[in-house]
Symmetry: C2
Subunit: 330 residues, 2 copies
C-alpha cells in the first residue's frame, strides 16, 4: 500500500441534446479542464472512513456500521458523501482490505449543482485514488463502473454519461439504448463557462418538457427532430474542427431549449452578453432553469466574452476540452 | 359623384408562421384595430392626381403622363405614392372617368416599415375611398384585387396576405399554393404591439433563413415542421378562444424564429419585458431584425405590460383583433 494517492477527473458540459436525450435522441458531452481532485490515505483507526470536502467546508466519518457522524458541518452532508463511502467500501472489499480505515479528501474546483457533473467527477476520482492507494491496477472501464454504481444511489435512473465523460475524457456521443461512444476529435475546443449562480432544478425542468410534450406532441416531436439533426451535424463539425458551424449549431440548440421553456432571464442575460462580445455560439448546458451557460470563443475574444459574462452578473471561468479523463496525480 | 369619400382599412400582425410561409408552411394573420384612413375628392384641374400623407409630411402630383412632381418632400416619396396612383388610374379607367383629377389624402396611425402592413392598408383604403367617390359598388373581392395588383409594383412576389387581411378583417389562414382562408373566430383578442423603432429588413432576414436552410437543411426543415404544427394548433386555440394555449404557442413560435437567427437584442428586450409583466405569450411579428413584437395580455395586466415594453425602450400601443376589414367612414 502507498502512503497516499491522489487522482483527478474532469467536469463535463453538454454541447448538444440535453432534455432531448430523455426522449431517446442523441447527446454530445465534452470533458472540460476543470477537475475534481481526491486524495486517499490510510488511517490508523481501522474501518473508519473519513470524508472531507474543502469547498463544502464539511467532513464526517462513516463508522463500521455505515452510520454517518459529522465532524465539520451537519448531517445534510451525508448524501453528498455517501457515493464516496459506497465506492470506498466496494474497493476495499474487492481488494480484500475490508477492515482498513481511510481518509478521503475532496478538493474540487467544479461548481456544485450547476450541471457540470461535479458529483460524477468526484466519484470517478475517488475510485481512482482509492484503488491506486491499494495498488490495484483497475482499468478505466472498471473505474467507470464503480463510479456509475455509486451514482445510482443518488440519482434516479442516471444515464451514466457523467461518470463516463469524467473517466474517459474527450467527447462522448450518447443515446439511450445505444450506449456511449467516444468521438475522435482532434481539435482543441476552448469553452467559457458562465454560472448563473442559480442552482439548476433538473427535476422541475424535465417535468416541464414532459408536460409540454403531453400538451403539444406534434410540436415537441418536431423540435426534438431538429435537436437530433443539430447533434448529428455537431458531431461532423467537431470532427472537422469547424468552429463557426459548431457555434451556429449551439445557438440553434439553445433556441430549441427556449422553445421548451427551460431557459430563464439570467441564462438569457449571460448568453446575450457572450454573443454580443463575439462568441461563435452560446447555449445553456444541462437542465436549465439556472446552472451554467457555455460560450464558444475565438482566440481573439476570450477576454472580452469573459468580461461581458461577468458584467452581466455571471461567475465565469475559461476552460477547454479535456483530452484526458481520470488520471493519477503525482 | 360624391363631393368626398373616406374609407379605412386595418393593419395586420402575424400570429404564426412568418418566414415558414416562404417555404409553403401555413401562416396565421390577424387584422388589428389600427387603421389607415384615406380621403378622396375630385379636383378641378383634370387628370392631375395629388397624393398627400400627413404622417410622412409629404405630398406630390402625378401628371397626366405619370410623372411625379413633389409638392412637399422630395422625389424619395414617389415609390410610397406609386401604388396609390396605380389604383387611382385603374379605378378611373374602370369607371370611364379617365380625365378626372383627384386628391387622395392618407392619414394613417400604422407605423411604417414595421411589418404591420401599412402599405397594404393604405392601398385597400384608397381603392375603397376612390371607388366609393365615383359611386361604383365594388365588392370586397374587387377591392382586394385592385390593392393586390398595385402591391405587385412595389413588392417582389407578394403573397397577397396583407391586402387580404386589410380588406376582409378578422383572421386569415394562408398557405402558398392553397390560397387564403378566413377563419371563423368569435373571441376578442387583445394585442399589445411594441415597436423596436428599428426598421425591419425583410430581404436580409429572408436571405438569412434561406442561407441557413442551405447549410443545415435537416435542422431547418424540422424547425419548419415545428412551426407548421404550431400554426395548426394555433388555429384550434383561436377557434376555441383558449388564450393560455395561444400564448404558449406564440412563445414557442418566437423561439423557433430565434433558432433561425431573425431576432435581435432589442426584440428580445421587449419580449422579455412583456413576459415578465405577465403576458400569456410574446413574439416578434413579421420579418424580424427590427420591426415589432406582439404580446397577448390578460385583461388584468394590459397596463403593466404596456409600461414594461415602454420602459424597455419600445413604442407601444394597445389594440385588438379587427373584426371588420375595409369600411367606408361617414
Amino acid at each position: 500500500m502507498k502512503p497516499l494517492s491522489r487522482a483527478s477527473a474532469p467536469a463535463k458540459i453538454i454541447l448538444f441534446g440535453e432534455h432531448f436525450v430523455v426522449y431517446d435522441r442523441p447527446a454530445v458531452v465534452m470533458a472540460i479542464e476543470r477537475r475534481a481532485y481526491v486524495t486517499a490515505k490510510p488511517r490508523a483507526d481501522n474501518r473508519i472512513i473519513v470524508v472531507k470536502s474543502r469547498e463544502m467546508g464539511a467532513s464526517g466519518a462513516f463508522t463500521p456500521s455505515g452510520e454517518y457522524q459529522p465532524i465539520e458541518g451537519g448531517l445534510e452532508f451525508e448524501p453528498k458523501f455517501k457515493p464516496i463511502y459506497i465506492i470506498t467500501k466496494r474497493i476495499l472489499s474487492l481488494s480484500g482490505e475490508e477492515t482498513l480505515g481511510l481518509e478521503i479528501e475532496v478538493d474540487s474546483s467544479i461548481p456544485i449543482a450547476a450541471g457540470l457533473g461535479s458529483s460524477a467527477a468526484v466519484a470517478v476520482a475517488s475510485a481512482s485514488a482509492i484503488s491506486s492507494l491499494l495498488e490495484m491496477r483497475l482499468s478505466r472501464d472498471e473505474i467507470f463502473r464503480l463510479a456509475f454504481e455509486a451514482e445510482r444511489f443518488v440519482h434516479v435512473n442516471p444515464s451514466g454519461v457523467d461518470p463516463a465523460v469524467s473517466t474517459y475524457g474527450g467527447i462522448l456521443l450518447y443515446r439511450r439504448g445505444e450506449g456511449i461512444r467516444r468521438l475522435d476529435v482532434e481539435a482543441e475546443i476552448p469553452i467559457i463557462v458562465g454560472d448563473t449562480g442559480v442552482k439548476r432544478v433538473t427535476g422541475e425542468m424535465v417535468s416541464r418538457v414532459s408536460d409540454l410534450l403531453m400538451r403539444y406532441p406534434t410540436v415537441v416531436e418536431s423540435i426534438m427532430d431538429a435537436g437530433e439533426n443539430i447533434a448529428k451535424l455537431g458531431v461532423e463539425a467537431l470532427k472537422s474542427g469547424d468552429m463557426r458551424t459548431l457555434g451556429e449549431l449551439m445557438n440553434m440548440n439553445h433556441a430549441l431549449l427556449c422553445a421548451l421553456g427551460v431557459s430563464n432571464d439570467m441564462i438569457e442575460r449571460l448568453i446575450s452578453a457572450a454573443r454580443r462580445a463575439g462568441a461563435l455560439g452560446a447555449k445553456l448546458t444541462g437542465a436549465g432553469g439556472g446552472g451554467c451557460i457555455i460560450a464558444l470563443p475565438e482566440k481573439s475574444n476570450v477576454q472580452g466574452i469573459t468580461e461581458a459574462i461577468r458584467n452581466a452578473g455571471g461567475e465565469v471561468f475559461v476552460t477547454a476540452k479535456a483530452f484526458e479523463g481520470v488520471r493519477i496525480e503525482e
